[in-house]
Every structure is written in structure tokens, then in C-alpha cells.
Symmetry: C2
Subunit: 297 residues, 2 copies
Amino acid sequence: MTTDYISRIRRFHRAVTSEVGLLDSSFLGRGRPLGPARVLNAIGGGRTEVSEIRSYLSLDSGLLSRLLRGLEGEGLIEVEDGETDGRRRSIRLTLAGAQEYAAYEALSDAQAAEILGKHAMPEKLLAAMDLIATALGKERIHLEEADPRSTAAQACMSAYYTELSSRFERGFDVALSCDPDASDMERPRGTFLIALSDGLPVGCVGLKGTTKGYGEVKRLWVSQEARGLGLSRRLMTELERIAQDVGIELLRLDSNSALGEAVALYRKTGWTEIERFNDDPYPDLFFEKRLARSWSG
Amino acid sequence: MTTDYISRIRRFHRAVTSEVGLLDSSFLGRGRPLGPARVLNAIGGGRTEVSEIRSYLSLDSGLLSRLLRGLEGEGLIEVEDGETDGRRRSIRLTLAGAQEYAAYEALSDAQAAEILGKHAMPEKLLAAMDLIATALGKERIHLEEADPRSTAAQACMSAYYTELSSRFERGFDVALSCDPDASDMERPRGTFLIALSDGLPVGCVGLKGTTKGYGEVKRLWVSQEARGLGLSRRLMTELERIAQDVGIELLRLDSNSALGEAVALYRKTGWTEIERFNDDPYPDLFFEKRLARSWSG
DNA sequence: ATTTATACCTGACCTAAGTCAGGTATAAAA
DNA sequence: TTTTATACCTGACTTAGGTCAGGTATAAAT
């Protein structure tokens, strides 16, 4: 019972295909096969060029052409020749098309609400979905440099603060900590990295440039559902690469013994413990790592 | 970001269809379309009669016939007339068919292993899958009377004990508790109910018959992943129905204030708190409920 | 014994989805 | 300017999956 993970995965598989198949076939509720419905959704989602739609839905060129002719015949889309390139064509929803698209959106929303309605604690269900989506989409998680003032970055950091509050016995108050200025975590002095899984931010780390002869690693965070996928290591590796890139030769960071996984990672990846180098009240562990000089520097 | 549950469900949907679609199309790895592969799997899974397969896969009678003729032509199955009913026909895998089925099983296992291999904590991933499969399959959860000595029942009870150990500050040791004898939780004096979600036991409750003028409710448990689906209420309702059925007019139970949800349920469903009626060291709350006399009694 | 229902089969037909080989107009490279 | 590549389109064809109207043999009901 406990070790039979295969039957558990199959059970998941069955549940999800019967239910998600239902989600898919909800597209059928409007008397249109899946193909054209998907194309309409791609267009409504903001994709305008034929080639864009083709690669997004990975459709054969001929097939897409026919589907587009069909939607055109229904009066849902209009096709016009590209402005800069006469070969390319761009697609626009007509008024009727926009209405039809909105109807599909509404169907999709209703389905989502129905699934959540099955549970007294929908947040638990969503958390499980996030975990699975993130794990299955592991290969598609990509790192991106972002403005630390952006919505996504702010969301990461506030999740990070929440995490610290729950981890530290005394709680955590950003105001008391050495809060790095956003401009210190931007090129050319530093950077801020976000890990995105299909659009959802699931991790971050900041590189703070200083004038003290070293760069500082700040705000390393991986969301609950993305843990166990080796993401913090990926974030740190990329951060070190960028640090070298901007000419930093020595990195420092402060941490806390309550953050066991992070500390273990530092120890495993070439960081050495050093004496306290700041007066932030929260950290009780301090590390540094010397980087190989960048060939370009 | 936080309230946008629809985009989170869609993200889950995308992840799962691309990955589980992969699981489905793994069936294609053996040069056979999905249809016949599904039929072969149904037969390998122990379904022998044509009508059984038809309803399991919800296939049209004509379509299934053709698929069976195909598999027969490949030499994978043998069809023979039913023994008791000459209209029914039963299907058997040939040696080649059994090998082919085994090959599909191996493919499926490999896929499962690959998915789990993506995660450093596969148990977490499986738990999330269980949660989702159970929630999506909520309507298909059914209650079943079972022998309290059966594997499924024992699995439920040991999960129940583990739960109690973690809930009670002093832990929990069955040996010290009033452990009901299996024979007390069987017809005609009592019963043992199991909730099954697609074969997986996700909850239980026992009705213990006594000679003291009342029946006792024991071992009400709902697994972590099935909480929030109203299952304990369903179990209790069914248990009370059976209690009436076997002629019990008064039910009693003991519980503990550490089991908040359960206690809240009792209070909400017509149970009244009474004085201690046993000397079990664990419970600190005692309830009883008078049942309407069964019309058949 | 006759009628009705059931279980499975067959043939004819349909739709969705996709592949593939050209074809046409435009853009970019030589 | 000629050649080559690109973007899209069209027509012919294929496969998978499925529906539907009978047909045949057997079982159950009357």
C-alpha cells in the first residue's frame, strides 16, 4: 500500500484525465471542435501572427490555414497582410470573435470554480496543483533578470519575509534588517534573478553591489512548491556567473542557522564560514566565496 | 497573484495535459493506436467479458467489436463463448498478448519512475497527487462494509494510530487503549466502514456492538488528502443508518479535545456530551446520540 | 411456443485531426 | 538581377475514433 507508488500515479492520472478531459471538452460546449476553439483562444490570448499561432499550438501549416479559413467563414476573425513583411499575415478578432472568446473564458472560469468548489479548503488543493505543475514543468523553469521593483520581484520578496517570520522564533521585521536598496540590485552593480515556472514566480535571489570590495547575496528564496527541484543551486550558480560578469571577485552573505537547507547548500558549494561582517540583528552565520577572475574582466 | 486561482488551475491543467498526455502517448510507443492499447490493458487488468470491457472503457459496442477483431488478428487475444450464457463471450490473453501487456506495464512503470525522479522528495509529490486525485474523484468515493481484519481496514487503523500519536502530546499506544475486538465490529452486532477513492482507502469508521445497551463508534479516521470533502460526515451518517439497521437505539463514543474537527462534527450532528463511561486513559470527551427506532425493528 | 430482450457482430458512414506535395507571393541573399 | 528562402495557402490523402442501423444467436418472459 505504502510503496505502491505506481498505482498511486496511475490513480492520479485517471482522475486528472477524466476531469481535465472534461476541462478540455468544456471547449466543446459551444458546438465547435477543439481545433478551431484552441486557435480562437490563442488569438484571444494576444497572438496575432499566423506563424506565432502555428508554433504555439504546434500545428501543421496547412491545418492551421484551414482552421483559420473556418473561423473567417464564421465571421470571428479578420486576416490582413502584414505591414512590414508582405508574406506574414496578422489576425484580428472581429466583434463577434471577441464575444465568442469571452464566452470560452467564462466557461473556463466556471470549470475552475467548480473544481475548487469541491473542496472545503481550496487553498490546499491549489497548493497541491502548484506543486505538481511545478514539478512536472521542472525542465521549463527558467531564470530571468528582473527589476527588483517589479510586481513579480516584490511578490517573491514578500513571500521570503513571510517565510522568515515563520522560521525565526522571534519573527522577522524587514525594517530592522539591512534592507538592500533596489538600485543596488540592478546592473551594472548587481542584479535580481527570478525563477519562473510557466509564468509563476517560484524563486529568487539578489546580488547587491557594494563599495566595500565585495558583492552580497541577498534574498535567496524558493517557494514551498518548488523545493526539492534543485532550484536554489541553479539560482546561486547563475548568480555567481553574473557576479563574475560584472567584475565581482568576492561574494559574501549572511544567513541564519534556522535556514538549514540554505546553509547546507552554501557549505556544499564552496562557501567558507567567516566572522560577522555586519550588524544586522537577524543573521548568525556568515559566509564568503572567492570567484575565479572572469576572462572578460 | 495570490487571488488568481483560475490562472493557477490553468497552469496545472497545461502541466498535466502535456505530461500526462505523454503518459497516454507512451502507449503509442509500441506502434499501436490508443484504442486497441486501452482494450489490451483492460483485458490484462483482469476484465474478461466483452460487456465488462465495454462499460469500463465506455466504448460503442461496434467499435469494441472491431478493436477485439484487430487484437485477435494480431494473435494477442482469444475469444470463447460464455459457459453459462451463450450470448456472452469471454476474452483471454494469449501468451503473446500477455507479453505485450507486460511490455505496456513496464512502459507505464518507467513513466511513473521518471515523474517521481524529478523530485528530491517524491513522497511530497505523491501526497499532492493523492490530494488532487481524491478531490477530483470526490463523487466516485464510495463507502463499503469490510472485515476489520482485512488489509485495507488494517491500513486505515494504523494510519489512525499514527495520526493520534502525532496529535496527542503524550503520544498514543494502542495497547493502553480499549482496543475493540474485530468480532465486535462485524455483522450482526456491528460493522466496519471503509471509504474508497478509486481503490485507495481514504477513511474509515467502526461500529462496535456491546452488551451494555448501546453501540459504540470507534476509529473515525479520514486521511490527510481526503479532508475537506465532507467524508467524515458521510461515514457517520452511513454508520448511524447501519446502527438502526442492526437494532441499536443508543450510540456512544469517546473522543479527545485535541481532535477538534471530529468533536465539532459530533456537536453539529445531534450528539450530546455526557459523563465519562469508560476508563480508557486517552479520551477526555464523551458523547451519545439516541437513534430513531428503525421501522424494520 | 411465441414473443421480447440481450449480447455481440457487421457494414456503411461520418468527423476531427493531421500529413504531404506542390503553388503563389514576397523578402533576402548572391 | 537572378536565385534562394520564407510565409502562407490549397488540394489530395490518411488515420483514429466513433455513430448508427440492422443482423444473428441465445436467454428470459409471457
